[in-house]
Symmetry: C2
Subunit: 305 residues, 2 copies
Protein backbone atom coordinates (compact mmCIF):
# COMPACT_ATOMS: atom_id res chain seq x y z
CA UNK A 1 0.00 0.00 0.00
CA UNK A 2 1.33 3.42 -0.87
CA UNK A 3 2.58 5.77 1.82
CA UNK A 4 -0.02 7.85 3.66
CA UNK A 5 1.52 8.98 6.95
CA UNK A 6 0.77 11.77 9.35
CA UNK A 7 3.67 13.26 11.33
CA UNK A 8 2.80 15.34 14.39
CA UNK A 9 5.24 18.24 14.78
CA UNK A 10 3.23 20.02 17.46
CA UNK A 11 -0.12 19.46 19.16
CA UNK A 12 -0.25 22.05 21.92
CA UNK A 13 -2.41 25.14 21.93
CA UNK A 14 -1.71 28.86 22.24
CA UNK A 15 0.45 28.68 25.35
CA UNK A 16 3.44 26.45 24.69
CA UNK A 17 4.54 24.17 27.48
CA UNK A 18 7.56 22.07 28.27
CA UNK A 19 5.66 19.13 26.79
CA UNK A 20 3.93 20.40 23.66
CA UNK A 21 4.78 22.60 20.69
CA UNK A 22 2.25 24.76 18.82
CA UNK A 23 0.20 23.20 16.02
CA UNK A 24 1.92 21.73 12.99
CA UNK A 25 1.70 18.48 11.07
CA UNK A 26 3.13 16.96 7.91
CA UNK A 27 1.19 14.56 5.70
CA UNK A 28 3.22 12.25 3.50
CA UNK A 29 0.93 11.00 0.73
CA UNK A 30 2.72 8.88 -1.84
CA UNK A 31 5.96 10.76 -1.09
CA UNK A 32 4.39 14.18 -1.58
CA UNK A 33 4.48 16.26 1.58
CA UNK A 34 1.80 18.68 2.73
CA UNK A 35 2.11 20.75 5.88
CA UNK A 36 -0.96 21.54 7.98
CA UNK A 37 -0.43 24.65 10.12
CA UNK A 38 3.02 25.89 10.99
CA UNK A 39 3.38 26.92 14.63
CA UNK A 40 6.65 28.21 16.04
CA UNK A 41 9.34 25.56 16.00
CA UNK A 42 7.82 23.57 13.12
CA UNK A 43 11.10 23.64 11.18
CA UNK A 44 12.97 22.46 14.28
CA UNK A 45 10.52 19.59 14.76
CA UNK A 46 10.69 18.76 11.06
CA UNK A 47 14.42 18.05 11.48
CA UNK A 48 13.53 15.11 13.68
CA UNK A 49 11.25 13.48 11.10
CA UNK A 50 13.98 12.82 8.55
CA UNK A 51 11.64 14.03 5.78
CA UNK A 52 13.04 16.00 2.85
CA UNK A 53 12.23 19.72 2.78
CA UNK A 54 12.26 19.57 -0.97
CA UNK A 55 9.20 17.33 -1.17
CA UNK A 56 7.06 19.94 0.57
CA UNK A 57 4.95 21.65 -2.06
CA UNK A 58 1.97 23.01 -0.16
CA UNK A 59 1.23 24.40 3.28
CA UNK A 60 -2.38 24.67 4.43
CA UNK A 61 -3.05 27.10 7.27
CA UNK A 62 -6.29 26.94 9.24
CA UNK A 63 -6.33 30.47 10.63
CA UNK A 64 -4.18 33.48 11.38
CA UNK A 65 -3.53 32.90 15.07
CA UNK A 66 0.08 32.92 16.13
CA UNK A 67 0.22 29.36 17.40
CA UNK A 68 -0.67 28.14 13.90
CA UNK A 69 1.57 30.40 11.78
CA UNK A 70 4.61 31.72 13.66
CA UNK A 71 6.76 28.91 12.27
CA UNK A 72 6.31 30.11 8.69
CA UNK A 73 9.07 32.77 8.66
CA UNK A 74 11.72 30.34 9.83
CA UNK A 75 10.59 27.46 7.63
CA UNK A 76 10.40 29.62 4.51
CA UNK A 77 13.80 31.23 5.22
CA UNK A 78 15.50 27.94 5.91
CA UNK A 79 14.31 26.40 2.65
CA UNK A 80 15.74 29.48 0.92
CA UNK A 81 19.10 28.95 2.62
CA UNK A 82 19.00 25.30 1.59
CA UNK A 83 18.82 26.38 -2.02
CA UNK A 84 15.20 25.58 -2.80
CA UNK A 85 14.10 26.63 -6.27
CA UNK A 86 10.64 25.02 -6.59
CA UNK A 87 7.74 27.31 -5.75
CA UNK A 88 5.96 26.84 -2.44
CA UNK A 89 2.22 27.33 -2.18
CA UNK A 90 0.72 28.59 1.06
CA UNK A 91 -3.05 28.22 1.34
CA UNK A 92 -5.03 29.90 4.08
CA UNK A 93 -7.53 32.58 5.07
CA UNK A 94 -6.95 35.99 3.49
CA UNK A 95 -6.08 37.40 6.93
CA UNK A 96 -2.75 35.61 6.65
CA UNK A 97 -1.61 37.57 3.60
CA UNK A 98 -0.18 40.72 5.30
CA UNK A 99 2.02 38.68 7.65
CA UNK A 100 3.33 36.53 4.83
CA UNK A 101 3.98 39.56 2.64
CA UNK A 102 5.83 41.30 5.47
CA UNK A 103 8.05 38.28 6.09
CA UNK A 104 8.82 37.84 2.40
CA UNK A 105 9.57 41.54 1.91
CA UNK A 106 11.81 41.92 4.96
CA UNK A 107 13.65 38.62 5.16
CA UNK A 108 13.35 36.70 1.91
CA UNK A 109 14.34 39.08 -0.86
CA UNK A 110 17.37 37.02 -1.85
CA UNK A 111 15.67 33.62 -2.04
CA UNK A 112 15.80 31.59 -5.24
CA UNK A 113 12.22 30.35 -4.96
CA UNK A 114 8.78 31.92 -4.96
CA UNK A 115 6.19 31.68 -2.22
CA UNK A 116 2.69 32.01 -3.57
CA UNK A 117 -0.23 32.70 -1.28
CA UNK A 118 -3.63 31.28 -2.23
CA UNK A 119 -6.54 32.60 -0.20
CA UNK A 120 -9.08 30.05 0.99
CA UNK A 121 -12.76 30.88 1.31
CA UNK A 122 -13.27 29.58 4.82
CA UNK A 123 -17.05 29.69 4.51
CA UNK A 124 -17.27 27.02 1.80
CA UNK A 125 -16.78 23.27 1.82
CA UNK A 126 -15.03 22.81 -1.50
CA UNK A 127 -11.99 21.33 -3.22
CA UNK A 128 -9.14 23.80 -2.69
CA UNK A 129 -6.37 21.74 -4.29
CA UNK A 130 -6.02 18.57 -6.29
CA UNK A 131 -3.44 16.70 -8.26
CA UNK A 132 -3.14 13.14 -9.60
CA UNK A 133 -2.85 11.69 -6.11
CA UNK A 134 -5.24 13.62 -3.94
CA UNK A 135 -8.00 16.10 -3.36
CA UNK A 136 -7.86 18.64 -0.53
CA UNK A 137 -11.20 19.94 0.71
CA UNK A 138 -11.81 22.93 2.96
CA UNK A 139 -13.87 22.30 6.11
CA UNK A 140 -15.48 25.53 7.37
CA UNK A 141 -14.87 25.88 11.11
CA UNK A 142 -16.42 28.05 13.79
CA UNK A 143 -13.66 29.83 15.66
CA UNK A 144 -13.05 33.41 16.75
CA UNK A 145 -11.54 34.33 13.36
CA UNK A 146 -11.92 33.03 9.81
CA UNK A 147 -10.85 29.41 10.07
CA UNK A 148 -11.06 26.18 8.13
CA UNK A 149 -9.89 22.64 8.50
CA UNK A 150 -8.80 20.39 5.64
CA UNK A 151 -9.75 16.97 4.37
CA UNK A 152 -7.12 15.15 2.33
CA UNK A 153 -8.49 12.28 0.28
CA UNK A 154 -6.34 10.17 -1.95
CA UNK A 155 -7.62 9.44 -5.43
CA UNK A 156 -8.54 5.87 -6.25
CA UNK A 157 -5.56 3.87 -7.39
CA UNK A 158 -5.51 1.38 -10.27
CA UNK A 159 -6.76 -2.17 -9.73
CA UNK A 160 -4.07 -4.74 -8.99
CA UNK A 161 -3.04 -6.96 -11.89
CA UNK A 162 -3.24 -10.70 -11.15
CA UNK A 163 0.18 -12.07 -12.08
CA UNK A 164 -1.24 -15.60 -12.25
CA UNK A 165 -3.75 -14.54 -14.93
CA UNK A 166 -1.06 -12.75 -16.95
CA UNK A 167 0.92 -15.98 -16.98
CA UNK A 168 -2.10 -18.16 -17.71
CA UNK A 169 -3.16 -16.13 -20.74
CA UNK A 170 0.39 -15.22 -21.79
CA UNK A 171 -0.42 -11.50 -21.68
CA UNK A 172 2.60 -9.33 -22.66
CA UNK A 173 3.77 -6.48 -20.41
CA UNK A 174 2.86 -3.82 -22.99
CA UNK A 175 -0.80 -4.65 -22.42
CA UNK A 176 -0.76 -4.17 -18.65
CA UNK A 177 -1.43 -0.43 -18.55
CA UNK A 178 -4.53 -0.89 -20.71
CA UNK A 179 -5.84 -3.58 -18.37
CA UNK A 180 -5.09 -1.44 -15.30
CA UNK A 181 -7.08 1.34 -16.92
CA UNK A 182 -10.12 -0.96 -17.19
CA UNK A 183 -9.54 -2.82 -20.44
CA UNK A 184 -10.28 -6.48 -21.19
CA UNK A 185 -7.85 -8.85 -22.95
CA UNK A 186 -8.53 -10.63 -26.20
CA UNK A 187 -6.54 -13.81 -26.73
CA UNK A 188 -5.04 -14.90 -30.06
CA UNK A 189 -8.02 -17.22 -30.36
CA UNK A 190 -10.43 -14.27 -30.03
CA UNK A 191 -11.58 -15.10 -26.50
CA UNK A 192 -12.36 -11.95 -24.52
CA UNK A 193 -11.06 -12.23 -20.93
CA UNK A 194 -12.93 -9.64 -18.88
CA UNK A 195 -11.04 -7.04 -16.86
CA UNK A 196 -12.53 -8.34 -13.62
CA UNK A 197 -10.89 -11.77 -14.09
CA UNK A 198 -7.46 -10.19 -14.66
CA UNK A 199 -7.43 -7.89 -11.64
CA UNK A 200 -8.26 -7.53 -7.98
CA UNK A 201 -9.86 -4.28 -6.80
CA UNK A 202 -7.76 -1.19 -6.11
CA UNK A 203 -6.88 -0.42 -2.52
CA UNK A 204 -9.67 1.37 -0.67
CA UNK A 205 -9.43 5.13 -0.79
CA UNK A 206 -8.00 6.61 2.40
CA UNK A 207 -8.54 10.07 3.81
CA UNK A 208 -7.37 12.28 6.63
CA UNK A 209 -9.26 15.21 8.13
CA UNK A 210 -7.62 17.97 10.18
CA UNK A 211 -10.11 19.90 12.30
CA UNK A 212 -8.58 22.68 14.46
CA UNK A 213 -9.57 25.20 15.94
CA UNK A 214 -13.33 25.12 16.28
CA UNK A 215 -16.35 24.67 18.43
CA UNK A 216 -18.61 21.84 17.25
CA UNK A 217 -19.86 22.37 13.68
CA UNK A 218 -23.18 20.73 12.79
CA UNK A 219 -22.19 19.72 9.27
CA UNK A 220 -18.81 18.30 10.21
CA UNK A 221 -19.94 14.69 10.65
CA UNK A 222 -21.30 14.71 7.11
CA UNK A 223 -18.19 16.33 5.66
CA UNK A 224 -15.82 13.84 7.27
CA UNK A 225 -18.14 10.80 7.01
CA UNK A 226 -16.14 7.54 6.90
CA UNK A 227 -12.83 9.37 6.98
CA UNK A 228 -10.00 6.97 7.74
CA UNK A 229 -8.34 9.20 10.33
CA UNK A 230 -9.75 12.32 11.97
CA UNK A 231 -7.62 14.76 13.97
CA UNK A 232 -10.00 16.85 16.01
CA UNK A 233 -8.99 19.55 18.43
CA UNK A 234 -9.77 18.73 22.04
CA UNK A 235 -8.52 21.80 23.83
CA UNK A 236 -10.51 21.09 26.97
CA UNK A 237 -12.17 18.34 28.97
CA UNK A 238 -15.68 18.16 30.37
CA UNK A 239 -14.50 20.26 33.31
CA UNK A 240 -14.00 23.29 31.08
CA UNK A 241 -17.03 23.08 28.80
CA UNK A 242 -17.85 26.73 29.48
CA UNK A 243 -14.34 27.83 28.49
CA UNK A 244 -14.52 25.72 25.35
CA UNK A 245 -17.70 27.47 24.35
CA UNK A 246 -16.41 30.93 25.28
CA UNK A 247 -13.21 30.59 23.26
CA UNK A 248 -14.78 28.63 20.39
CA UNK A 249 -12.94 25.39 21.09
CA UNK A 250 -14.06 21.79 21.53
CA UNK A 251 -13.92 19.34 24.38
CA UNK A 252 -12.55 15.84 23.95
CA UNK A 253 -16.09 14.51 24.27
CA UNK A 254 -17.34 16.79 21.51
CA UNK A 255 -14.48 15.66 19.28
CA UNK A 256 -15.49 12.04 19.91
CA UNK A 257 -19.12 12.81 19.14
CA UNK A 258 -18.06 14.05 15.71
CA UNK A 259 -15.98 10.90 15.20
CA UNK A 260 -18.89 8.66 16.20
CA UNK A 261 -21.46 10.48 14.08
CA UNK A 262 -19.13 10.44 11.08
CA UNK A 263 -18.15 6.82 11.53
CA UNK A 264 -14.46 7.56 11.07
CA UNK A 265 -11.84 4.85 11.36
CA UNK A 266 -9.78 6.44 14.10
CA UNK A 267 -9.84 9.65 16.12
CA UNK A 268 -6.67 11.54 17.04
CA UNK A 269 -6.95 14.20 19.75
CA UNK A 270 -4.75 17.31 19.96
CA UNK A 271 -4.49 21.06 20.56
CA UNK A 272 -4.42 20.46 24.30
CA UNK A 273 -4.79 23.37 26.68
CA UNK A 274 -1.65 24.03 28.73
CA UNK A 275 -3.71 23.37 31.87
CA UNK A 276 -3.58 19.59 31.35
CA UNK A 277 -0.39 18.03 32.68
CA UNK A 278 -1.71 14.65 31.62
CA UNK A 279 -4.03 14.33 28.63
CA UNK A 280 -5.19 10.94 29.89
CA UNK A 281 -8.33 12.61 31.19
CA UNK A 282 -9.11 13.89 27.69
CA UNK A 283 -8.47 10.45 26.21
CA UNK A 284 -10.77 8.76 28.71
CA UNK A 285 -13.60 11.19 28.06
CA UNK A 286 -13.28 10.74 24.29
CA UNK A 287 -13.05 6.94 24.50
CA UNK A 288 -16.26 6.81 26.51
CA UNK A 289 -17.93 8.03 23.29
CA UNK A 290 -15.64 6.70 20.56
CA UNK A 291 -13.37 3.81 21.49
CA UNK A 292 -10.75 4.00 18.75
CA UNK A 293 -9.25 7.25 19.95
CA UNK A 294 -5.56 8.04 20.46
CA UNK A 295 -3.63 11.07 21.70
CA UNK A 296 -1.41 13.12 19.41
CA UNK A 297 2.11 13.78 20.66
CA UNK A 298 5.20 15.40 19.19
CA UNK A 299 7.09 12.93 17.04
CA UNK A 300 4.12 10.59 16.62
CA UNK A 301 3.73 9.13 13.13
CA UNK A 302 0.31 7.64 12.35
CA UNK A 303 -0.20 5.44 9.31
CA UNK A 304 -3.49 6.31 7.63
CA UNK A 305 -4.95 2.90 6.78
CA UNK B 1 27.26 38.61 45.47
CA UNK B 2 24.17 39.69 43.57
CA UNK B 3 22.85 37.61 40.69
CA UNK B 4 24.47 38.10 37.29
CA UNK B 5 23.69 35.02 35.20
CA UNK B 6 23.63 34.30 31.51
CA UNK B 7 21.18 31.69 30.21
CA UNK B 8 21.77 30.32 26.71
CA UNK B 9 18.46 29.64 24.94
CA UNK B 10 20.02 29.08 21.53
CA UNK B 11 23.52 29.24 20.10
CA UNK B 12 23.19 27.88 16.57
CA UNK B 13 23.33 29.92 13.39
CA UNK B 14 20.98 30.45 10.46
CA UNK B 15 20.33 26.78 9.71
CA UNK B 16 18.83 25.13 12.77
CA UNK B 17 20.01 21.63 13.54
CA UNK B 18 18.90 18.82 15.78
CA UNK B 19 21.47 20.06 18.30
CA UNK B 20 21.22 23.84 18.31
CA UNK B 21 18.48 26.47 18.30
CA UNK B 22 18.82 29.92 16.73
CA UNK B 23 20.38 32.75 18.76
CA UNK B 24 18.79 33.86 22.00
CA UNK B 25 20.01 34.50 25.52
CA UNK B 26 18.65 35.86 28.78
CA UNK B 27 20.73 37.88 31.23
CA UNK B 28 19.59 37.92 34.83
CA UNK B 29 21.18 40.93 36.52
CA UNK B 30 19.99 41.44 40.09
CA UNK B 31 16.69 39.75 39.19
CA UNK B 32 16.04 41.99 36.20
CA UNK B 33 15.92 40.03 32.96
CA UNK B 34 17.22 41.22 29.59
CA UNK B 35 16.92 39.17 26.44
CA UNK B 36 19.62 39.28 23.79
CA UNK B 37 18.29 38.26 20.37
CA UNK B 38 15.16 36.17 20.00
CA UNK B 39 15.50 33.37 17.46
CA UNK B 40 12.66 30.97 16.73
CA UNK B 41 11.84 28.83 19.71
CA UNK B 42 13.16 31.31 22.30
CA UNK B 43 9.90 31.21 24.25
CA UNK B 44 9.98 27.42 24.22
CA UNK B 45 13.55 27.39 25.52
CA UNK B 46 12.68 30.03 28.10
CA UNK B 47 10.18 27.58 29.63
CA UNK B 48 13.06 25.35 30.60
CA UNK B 49 14.92 28.08 32.51
CA UNK B 50 12.26 28.54 35.15
CA UNK B 51 12.64 32.33 34.86
CA UNK B 52 9.58 34.57 35.19
CA UNK B 53 8.33 36.19 31.98
CA UNK B 54 7.20 39.14 34.00
CA UNK B 55 10.73 40.18 34.95
CA UNK B 56 11.66 40.66 31.31
CA UNK B 57 11.65 44.36 30.60
CA UNK B 58 13.96 44.79 27.62
CA UNK B 59 14.93 42.82 24.54
CA UNK B 60 18.05 43.82 22.62
CA UNK B 61 18.25 42.62 19.02
CA UNK B 62 21.55 42.63 17.14
CA UNK B 63 20.21 42.62 13.58
CA UNK B 64 17.20 41.85 11.45
CA UNK B 65 18.15 38.38 10.26
CA UNK B 66 15.56 35.69 10.84
CA UNK B 67 17.66 33.50 13.10
CA UNK B 68 17.89 36.40 15.58
CA UNK B 69 14.28 37.65 15.53
CA UNK B 70 11.76 35.00 14.47
CA UNK B 71 11.03 34.15 18.09
CA UNK B 72 9.66 37.64 18.79
CA UNK B 73 6.09 37.07 17.54
CA UNK B 74 5.56 34.03 19.73
CA UNK B 75 7.24 35.50 22.80
CA UNK B 76 5.30 38.76 22.58
CA UNK B 77 1.99 36.95 21.98
CA UNK B 78 2.53 34.52 24.82
CA UNK B 79 3.22 37.28 27.32
CA UNK B 80 -0.03 38.88 26.18
CA UNK B 81 -1.92 35.63 26.80
CA UNK B 82 -0.29 35.39 30.23
CA UNK B 83 -1.86 38.73 31.12
CA UNK B 84 1.20 40.96 31.02
CA UNK B 85 0.47 44.64 31.59
CA UNK B 86 3.96 46.15 31.98
CA UNK B 87 5.38 47.65 28.79
CA UNK B 88 8.09 45.76 26.93
CA UNK B 89 10.92 47.61 25.24
CA UNK B 90 12.50 46.14 22.13
CA UNK B 91 15.80 47.73 21.10
CA UNK B 92 17.40 47.04 17.75
CA UNK B 93 18.36 48.34 14.31
CA UNK B 94 15.64 50.36 12.55
CA UNK B 95 15.33 47.58 9.95
CA UNK B 96 13.47 45.56 12.57
CA UNK B 97 10.62 48.04 12.88
CA UNK B 98 8.38 46.91 9.94
CA UNK B 99 8.40 43.27 11.09
CA UNK B 100 7.55 44.20 14.65
CA UNK B 101 4.81 46.57 13.51
CA UNK B 102 3.33 43.88 11.26
CA UNK B 103 3.28 41.33 14.08
CA UNK B 104 1.73 43.77 16.54
CA UNK B 105 -0.90 44.93 14.05
CA UNK B 106 -1.94 41.45 12.90
CA UNK B 107 -1.65 39.33 16.03
CA UNK B 108 -1.47 41.52 19.13
CA UNK B 109 -4.36 43.97 18.90
CA UNK B 110 -6.04 42.59 22.01
CA UNK B 111 -3.03 42.56 24.31
CA UNK B 112 -3.08 44.46 27.60
CA UNK B 113 0.49 45.67 27.33
CA UNK B 114 2.45 47.90 25.00
CA UNK B 115 5.52 46.94 23.00
CA UNK B 116 7.72 49.91 22.31
CA UNK B 117 10.45 49.77 19.68
CA UNK B 118 13.58 51.83 20.26
CA UNK B 119 15.89 52.09 17.26
CA UNK B 120 19.61 51.65 17.93
CA UNK B 121 22.23 53.54 15.95
CA UNK B 122 24.41 50.57 15.07
CA UNK B 123 27.29 52.78 13.94
CA UNK B 124 27.95 54.26 17.41
CA UNK B 125 29.48 52.84 20.58
CA UNK B 126 27.25 54.47 23.17
CA UNK B 127 25.03 53.86 26.16
CA UNK B 128 21.67 52.72 24.82
CA UNK B 129 19.99 51.96 28.15
CA UNK B 130 20.69 52.42 31.82
CA UNK B 131 18.95 52.11 35.12
CA UNK B 132 20.10 51.95 38.75
CA UNK B 133 21.69 48.54 38.25
CA UNK B 134 23.33 48.61 34.84
CA UNK B 135 24.45 50.32 31.70
CA UNK B 136 23.95 48.75 28.28
CA UNK B 137 26.35 49.86 25.55
CA UNK B 138 26.03 49.27 21.83
CA UNK B 139 28.99 47.60 20.10
CA UNK B 140 29.03 48.41 16.36
CA UNK B 141 29.54 45.20 14.38
CA UNK B 142 30.54 44.51 10.80
CA UNK B 143 28.00 42.14 9.28
CA UNK B 144 26.02 42.06 6.04
CA UNK B 145 23.28 44.28 7.48
CA UNK B 146 23.13 46.93 10.21
CA UNK B 147 24.20 45.07 13.33
CA UNK B 148 25.41 45.73 16.84
CA UNK B 149 26.38 43.75 19.87
CA UNK B 150 25.75 44.81 23.44
CA UNK B 151 27.86 45.27 26.55
CA UNK B 152 26.03 45.01 29.87
CA UNK B 153 27.95 46.49 32.79
CA UNK B 154 26.58 46.55 36.29
CA UNK B 155 26.89 49.77 38.23
CA UNK B 156 29.15 49.80 41.25
CA UNK B 157 27.40 48.60 44.36
CA UNK B 158 27.69 50.11 47.82
CA UNK B 159 30.66 49.23 50.04
CA UNK B 160 30.06 46.49 52.59
CA UNK B 161 29.42 47.60 56.17
CA UNK B 162 31.69 45.97 58.75
CA UNK B 163 29.36 44.57 61.40
CA UNK B 164 32.23 44.36 63.86
CA UNK B 165 32.83 48.10 63.59
CA UNK B 166 29.12 48.88 64.00
CA UNK B 167 29.15 46.90 67.22
CA UNK B 168 32.44 48.38 68.42
CA UNK B 169 31.29 51.97 67.99
CA UNK B 170 27.63 51.25 68.89
CA UNK B 171 26.46 52.71 65.58
CA UNK B 172 22.64 52.63 65.23
CA UNK B 173 20.97 51.09 62.16
CA UNK B 174 19.53 54.43 61.03
CA UNK B 175 23.08 55.61 60.31
CA UNK B 176 24.00 52.72 58.01
CA UNK B 177 22.68 54.13 54.74
CA UNK B 178 24.70 57.29 55.23
CA UNK B 179 27.86 55.28 55.84
CA UNK B 180 27.16 53.07 52.79
CA UNK B 181 26.84 56.27 50.76
CA UNK B 182 30.35 57.30 51.83
CA UNK B 183 29.77 59.08 55.15
CA UNK B 184 31.95 58.91 58.26
CA UNK B 185 30.66 58.38 61.80
CA UNK B 186 31.05 60.78 64.69
CA UNK B 187 30.90 59.23 68.13
CA UNK B 188 29.18 60.78 71.14
CA UNK B 189 32.66 61.84 72.26
CA UNK B 190 33.18 63.72 68.99
CA UNK B 191 35.64 61.22 67.52
CA UNK B 192 35.32 60.99 63.73
CA UNK B 193 35.55 57.39 62.54
CA UNK B 194 36.40 57.47 58.81
CA UNK B 195 34.24 55.69 56.28
CA UNK B 196 37.12 53.44 55.25
CA UNK B 197 37.40 51.94 58.74
CA UNK B 198 33.68 51.11 58.80
CA UNK B 199 33.46 49.37 55.43
CA UNK B 200 35.11 46.98 53.04
CA UNK B 201 35.14 47.83 49.33
CA UNK B 202 32.14 47.17 47.12
CA UNK B 203 32.17 44.03 44.96
CA UNK B 204 34.10 44.51 41.73
CA UNK B 205 31.96 45.64 38.82
CA UNK B 206 31.08 42.80 36.44
CA UNK B 207 30.21 43.00 32.77
CA UNK B 208 29.05 40.80 29.92
CA UNK B 209 29.53 41.46 26.22
CA UNK B 210 27.46 39.82 23.47
CA UNK B 211 29.15 39.97 20.08
CA UNK B 212 27.20 38.32 17.23
CA UNK B 213 27.16 38.41 14.14
CA UNK B 214 30.31 40.02 12.86
CA UNK B 215 33.65 39.71 11.20
CA UNK B 216 36.53 40.94 13.35
CA UNK B 217 36.14 44.61 14.34
CA UNK B 218 39.36 46.52 15.07
CA UNK B 219 37.96 48.53 17.98
CA UNK B 220 36.28 45.61 19.71
CA UNK B 221 39.14 44.73 22.04
CA UNK B 222 39.10 48.27 23.38
CA UNK B 223 35.33 48.34 23.78
CA UNK B 224 35.22 45.08 25.71
CA UNK B 225 38.53 45.54 27.56
CA UNK B 226 38.58 43.63 30.86
CA UNK B 227 35.01 42.42 30.38
CA UNK B 228 34.19 39.64 32.83
CA UNK B 229 32.54 37.39 30.23
CA UNK B 230 32.62 37.74 26.46
CA UNK B 231 30.30 35.80 24.16
CA UNK B 232 31.79 36.02 20.69
CA UNK B 233 30.35 34.40 17.63
CA UNK B 234 32.54 31.62 16.22
CA UNK B 235 30.53 30.50 13.22
CA UNK B 236 33.47 28.76 11.58
CA UNK B 237 36.84 27.16 12.27
CA UNK B 238 40.18 27.78 10.62
CA UNK B 239 39.09 25.46 7.81
CA UNK B 240 36.44 27.93 6.66
CA UNK B 241 38.27 31.23 7.03
CA UNK B 242 37.27 32.22 3.50
CA UNK B 243 33.59 31.56 4.21
CA UNK B 244 33.81 33.54 7.44
CA UNK B 245 35.17 36.50 5.52
CA UNK B 246 32.67 36.14 2.68
CA UNK B 247 29.63 36.03 4.98
CA UNK B 248 31.00 38.55 7.52
CA UNK B 249 31.38 36.07 10.34
CA UNK B 250 34.26 35.17 12.66
CA UNK B 251 36.28 32.05 13.24
CA UNK B 252 36.83 30.64 16.72
CA UNK B 253 40.45 31.77 16.52
CA UNK B 254 39.42 35.32 15.67
CA UNK B 255 37.00 35.31 18.62
CA UNK B 256 39.83 34.21 20.88
CA UNK B 257 42.12 36.92 19.53
CA UNK B 258 39.57 39.52 20.59
CA UNK B 259 39.33 37.90 24.02
CA UNK B 260 43.12 37.88 24.43
CA UNK B 261 43.59 41.46 23.23
CA UNK B 262 40.80 42.68 25.49
CA UNK B 263 41.99 40.70 28.49
CA UNK B 264 38.52 39.41 29.27
CA UNK B 265 37.87 37.01 32.14
CA UNK B 266 36.27 34.25 30.10
CA UNK B 267 35.34 33.63 26.48
CA UNK B 268 32.14 31.87 25.47
CA UNK B 269 31.85 30.65 21.88
CA UNK B 270 28.58 30.31 19.96
CA UNK B 271 26.64 30.83 16.73
CA UNK B 272 28.08 27.62 15.34
CA UNK B 273 27.64 26.79 11.69
CA UNK B 274 25.44 23.75 11.10
CA UNK B 275 28.42 22.07 9.40
CA UNK B 276 30.07 21.26 12.74
CA UNK B 277 28.73 18.09 14.32
CA UNK B 278 31.16 18.58 17.18
CA UNK B 279 32.24 22.06 18.22
CA UNK B 280 35.29 20.60 19.95
CA UNK B 281 37.38 21.66 16.97
CA UNK B 282 36.26 25.28 17.46
CA UNK B 283 37.02 25.09 21.17
CA UNK B 284 40.51 23.74 20.56
CA UNK B 285 41.33 26.45 18.06
CA UNK B 286 40.13 29.16 20.41
CA UNK B 287 41.95 27.72 23.43
CA UNK B 288 45.21 27.72 21.53
CA UNK B 289 44.92 31.52 21.64
CA UNK B 290 42.88 32.13 24.82
CA UNK B 291 42.84 29.35 27.38
CA UNK B 292 39.77 30.26 29.41
CA UNK B 293 37.28 29.53 26.66
CA UNK B 294 34.08 27.48 26.91
CA UNK B 295 31.39 26.42 24.47
CA UNK B 296 27.85 27.76 24.65
CA UNK B 297 25.10 25.16 24.62
CA UNK B 298 21.33 25.26 25.00
CA UNK B 299 20.39 25.28 28.66
CA UNK B 300 23.83 26.40 29.83
CA UNK B 301 23.79 28.96 32.64
CA UNK B 302 27.04 30.87 33.17
CA UNK B 303 27.61 32.90 36.32
CA UNK B 304 29.28 36.20 35.45
CA UNK B 305 31.92 36.56 38.16
Amino acid sequence: MQTFDLHILGCGSALPTRRHMPSSQVVNLRDKLLMLDCGEGAQLQWRHTGLSWMKLGHIFITHAHGDHVFGLPGLISTMGLMGRTAPLFVHGPAQLRPFLQCVLANFCSDMDYAVEFLAIDTTRHAIVFEDRSMEVWSLPLDHRVACCGYLIREKAGAPHIRRDMLDFYGIPTWAINNIKAGGDWTTAEGEVVPHARLTTPADPVRSYAYVSDTKPVAAMAAWVASTTLLYHEATYGDDELALASKYCHSTARQAAEVAAAAGVGQLLLGHYSARYDDEGVLLAEARSVFANTILADEGLCVHVK
